[in-house]
Amino acid sequence: MQLPTSLPPAAANALPLLRTLTLFTIAGAAIASRLFSVVRFESIIHEFDPWFNFRATKYLVANDFYSFLDWFDDRTWYPLGRVTGGTLYPGLMVTSALIFHGLKALTLPVDIRNICVMLAPVFSGLTAYATYLFTREMKDHSAGLLAAAFIGIAPGYISRSVAGSYDNEAIAITLLMFTFYLWIKALKLGSAFWGALTALFYFYMVAAWGGYVFITNIIPLHALVLVIMGRYSSRLYVAYSSWYALGTLASMQIPFVGFLPIRSSEHMGALGVFGLLQLVGFAVYVRARVPSKQFKVLVVGSVGALVVLGVAGIVGLTVSGVIAPWTGRFYSLWDTGYAKIHIPIIASVSEHQPTAWPSFFFDTFMLIWLFPAGVYVVFQELRDEHLFVIIYGILASYFAGVMVRLMLTLTPIVCVCGAVALSNILDIYTNLEKPVEEEEEKKEEKEEASPLKKATTSLIEDEASILSLGSMSKKPLIGVYSNWARGIVLGMFTLYLYMFVQHCTWVTSNAYSSPSVVLASQMADGSQHIIDDFREAYYWLRKNTAEDAKVMSWWDYGYQIGGMADRTTLVDNNTWNNTHIATVGKAMSSREEVSYPILRKHDVDYILVIFGGLLGYSGDDINKFLWMVRIAEGIWPEEVKERDFFTARGEYRVDAEATPTMKNSLMYKMSYYRFADVFGRQPAIDRVRNQRIPSPMQDASAAPIELSSVEEAFTSENWIVRIYKVKELDPFGREHAAATAFESGKKKSGARGRTAPVGGHAKGRARVLRV
């Protein structure tokens, strides 16, 4: 971009420095605003998935890259195991390991945990820079700086990139923006070099996040729209072909991706557009050589036939099974009810739910209404790269509406469009030039001066001086040239920006900075009380159980048990085997007599349940219980029925009116075992569901909950985590229920009548031992 010639040379030289400083400040702000959780709690890995990534990173750091690639994890999905090296996106772990080794080479030994915790904030700084570059291509430097500032603190992005949120998305958004920037650059320049760079970052993105499919489809879509609009150019051909060929080959090097780019429906669009571009390129080449009449015949004949052939080929290959059909996750993007009916495991994840409208405002604040304005602004100009913004904006809005987690992909484009719109407004209202008689001069002046003005004003934000400068005009001005109009508009937007920063800080601080491993609550005097039940329980497991003990829990806690307790789990958050999860669901939702053989078969030593009834922690297993039932019902519809867990009136209850199926389920028993004892003669109230648990002390008819095949091993301070040990088979061959009844002093029934119970001991028959 040319600098305005009218600027004094000193100021012109200072501009790049100012921009650099601004970008550094933005990156600093982006990092700083993500540190709430570290300051408030400690440097700790958050939530669920990050714990797996952290564990994998530790493995990578402890071993070499090849053993990481070949890693067979025998501590998860017992007894199936997981080919972890081949079923993860290694980008995040490799990035951390490289940083770790790099710092070590610089004699700066940093704990790998701290690298993992701080990775997301650092990459958010880079995201700001990438967004700056991307937006600069769309408009100018000032819009770029604004976009960088927006993405730096927008809650929609912060939600996935606070310190400790060590997830794939932490680096993926950075790579997404870099890839898009490079694509725009390649398209603008028609350069194979930039196309190759795009492919390189695309490869990095594929290595880092499953959301790379978004890029795989949006770039071809952009190219397709350009072709349809008649904007085919050799620049597009070079950029797309070099990106696609190199990027696809590179992406196939990731073991988890493998041959998907040529075998799955999600990738067929890119391949199709690649073929189409070759055809169009060929057609353009031929048109340059052949008279137009013949050319038309040629086009209609050959190109048409080829397209028909190609489509028929893809359909045929899909039907015959060479190309994998669309996956359930893909269908659930179009039909929000699909997952709930067909794949409950996807629907059970809260972040896969459709987005509530307020969360758009919550996550992007004023940008959500600047976003359409920005799209409008780029529509005005509609260069090739502007089409990309429009396509991206439309697609991302739709997907963000379908799934909460895809809010993340919407946020960057909202920031870009918001910045373009706001920068446009600022351009107009901070232009101090008076309307000049010569139309042409004014136009030129405005075009050239705007970037500088905007840059300076947005930095200084001192509209008072602007006003005073404006008031020097002698003639009264009207419309946008009036100082009043300028003052009001600029004042409003300054206020909005101020509120935006306030809102973002508030949201980050209150909504997105909880590690969820550690909970905080307010005491009566306002001081903070830390609830650390999860770690208490996980460390109990780590210190008190055999190293090869198998722990069964609902899959949500699999990664945490693996990461914090270092014990073998049956299922975890990598929900690759629905049947195995359904098995756990069945064990949890069945009677003890049904569950026990399942537990034995899977060598389960301990069962871990999350119970929030005492404290009022609503994310507990009883609230998730229906999903266990539903997922189990999907596999064993005859044995587990969701209807049996609802009362006759269709209510989900845990109190005295709970159904017998509910009361006899292992999960219910383990959750409420001895719960009423805590309350003594007071009513035992479950504080999550606000229901009264039957208490034998209060009501003589209420039988205490008895567990026979498992025994309580540990209950954390606030009862959030309860761990039960699975008993061995009874040494005397009794049923567990009978053995427990005997232990608690009840006589065995039988042999009370006149005749003895008849056994199967026919004389001389060989006894078959089924033990």
Binding site: Y66, L69, D70, F72, D74, Y78, P79, L80, G81, V83, G86, P255, A288, R289, P291, D548, K601, H602, D603, E728, L729, D730, P731, F732, G733, R734, A738, A739, F742, K747, K748, G750, A751, R754, T755, A756, P757, V758, G759, G760, H761, A762, K763, G764, A766, R767, L769, R770, V771
Partner: protein, 448 residues
């Protein structure tokens, strides 16, 4: 330190010597709890037999206040013979059902001998019920009007004479060929019935024509007998999952000197074999060692294998006979290689044997399925102690460098060739492009 280690070694030596000399695999301390109504001397032959086998007998009256099975939580006897006194009070609190179960679970072996003339006590009845053994009601008698002892009970028909051939558990009591002609005297008493407990092994059942009746209530006929025919048992044993043994004997009269000395009596040998089995003097198996490894590898018991590895599995089994461990030979020992379900079930082949153990071995190619597999040895036969062993190993997938290289696969040659053809063709094309002079001027293109 040295004193302590010497002490430990000394203890180990003592333990070893003690073990080597012991008649039983688990220990020789035997407690006999004698019902005060029974006379010691009536059983002198039985006790002297036990004593001569090397067991340290402690005979205590059931009402002895010092009677106890545990001291400071430790078991103080290895075996227990329990005869039943007439009243619960006389039994004392240390012989309730719970301590008896605890004793068995803690490694003790128990023989419960019912008193032919007394009813079973509630606590022992409860103990029996826990094991699915249902003791008869008071004053009931087992009678058989067809095979009764004509001399002993010509009228009541409650003394039976049984053939040793009718014994049901050869691992527990196995009459020799000579014994076949002898007689097993059952001089009176009741019988019990058994439930469905899988661990129970019936040793001696009543004849088909026998039944239990209550002489007090049912003088002439029995409408609802407690148990009839072969469903009434005189002797039954149970081996717990901890390999301890419990035997129920329906009548103390089986073991009296009278019964032992009757002509052609098999009772003495029967009592000896039954007590020997119960006190772990025979039919005790031990797993000496389990090893698995890659074929042609020296590393023992690795925790991880790869799919399609050839794995060798080896166990050593020994059997306790005549006070020492000897090789145990069987042709039906099997290994299961399981992950949820067995992928292999292989019969182990007896290979070499040492003086004290028999080695069984097999080898197989690991299935083409990664996961955590278990080597499961589950050898359970009635009367023999259970051998159970489970070792989990990981079966990993092929590493990235463990597949055959493309040039080793003939099928891949066309594809490999095509790569080089394309490279060559491209270079050729570039060369042609660069060196072929373009005679036409570029302006021709533009005009079109």
């Amino acid at each position: 330190m040295s004193i302590r280690s010497v002490l430990v070694q000394l203890l180990l030596v003592i333990a070893f010597v003690g073990n080597a000399l012991a008649i039983s695999a688990t220990g020789s301390r035997l407690l006999v709890v004698l019902d005060p109504s029974l006379k010691d001397e009536d059983y002198s032959l039985f006790f002297s037999d036990l004593d001569s086998r090397g067991l340290d007998l402690t005979i205590k009256a059931a009402n002895d206040p010092s009677l106890g099975l545990f001291e400071y939580g430790e078991r103080i006897y290895d075996h227990l013979i329990l005869t039943l006194p007439p009243t619960q009070k006389a039994l004392g609190p240390n012989l309730l059902a719970k301590p008896l179960l605890d004793f068995s679970a803690a490694g003790g072996n128990i023989v419960v001998v019912l008193n032919a003339n007394e009813h079973a006590l509630a606590s022992v009845r409860e103990f029996a019920n826990q094991l699915d053994v249902f003791l008869p009601f008071r004053d009931t008698k087992l009678v058989d009007h067809f095979s009764y002892d004509k001399e002993a009970s010509p009228l009541l028909h409650d003394a039976l004479v049984l053939s040793p051939n009718s014994l049901l558990a050869p691992e527990i009591v196995s009459p020799t060929a000579d014994d076949a002609s002898k007689l097993l005297y059952y001089p009176g008493g009741s019988a019990f019935s058994l439930g469905n407990n899988q661990l129970l092994v019936p040793v001696l059942a009543a004849p088909e024509t026998a039944y239990i009746y209550d002489p007090a209530e049912e003088a002439t006929k029995s409408e609802t007998p407690f148990a009839t025919g072969s469903q009434a048992f005189l002797v039954a044993s149970l081996q717990t999952r901890k390999n301890t043994r419990v035997t129920f004997v329906a009548s103390n009269l089986l073991f009296t000197n009278d019964a032992f000395t009757k002509p052609d009596s098999f009772n003495r040998a029967f009592a000896a074999q039954l007590s020997a089995w119960t006190f772990a003097e025979k039919s005790v198996l031990r797993l000496e060692s389990v090893t698995h490894r890659l074929v042609n590898s020296s590393e023992l018991n690795p925790s991880i294998y790869r799919v399609k590895n050839e794995i060798e599995y080896e166990v050593e089994l020994s059997r306790f006979t005549d006070g020492k461990w000897a090789p145990f030979y069987a042709s039906d020992v099997q290994l299961e290689f399981t992950m949820l379900d067995p992928y292999y079930r292989l019969t182990l082949i007896p290979s070499s044997s040492s003086p004290s153990a028999q080695t069984y071995t097999t080898s197989f190619i690991a299935p083409d399925q990664h996961g955590m597999f278990s080597f499961v040895l589950n050898y359970k036969r009635p009367g023999l102690s259970f051998v159970e062993d489970k070792r989990v190993v990981t079966l990993r997938h092929f590493g990235h460098n463990e597949f055959a290289r493309s040039f080793e696969i003939p099928n891949a040659w066309p594809y490999a060739t095509s790569i080089f053809v394309v490279v060559a063709a491209w270079l050729l094309f570039v060369a042609l492009w660069m060196f072929s002079a373009n005679s036409e001027s570029p302006s021709v293109k533009k005009t079109q």
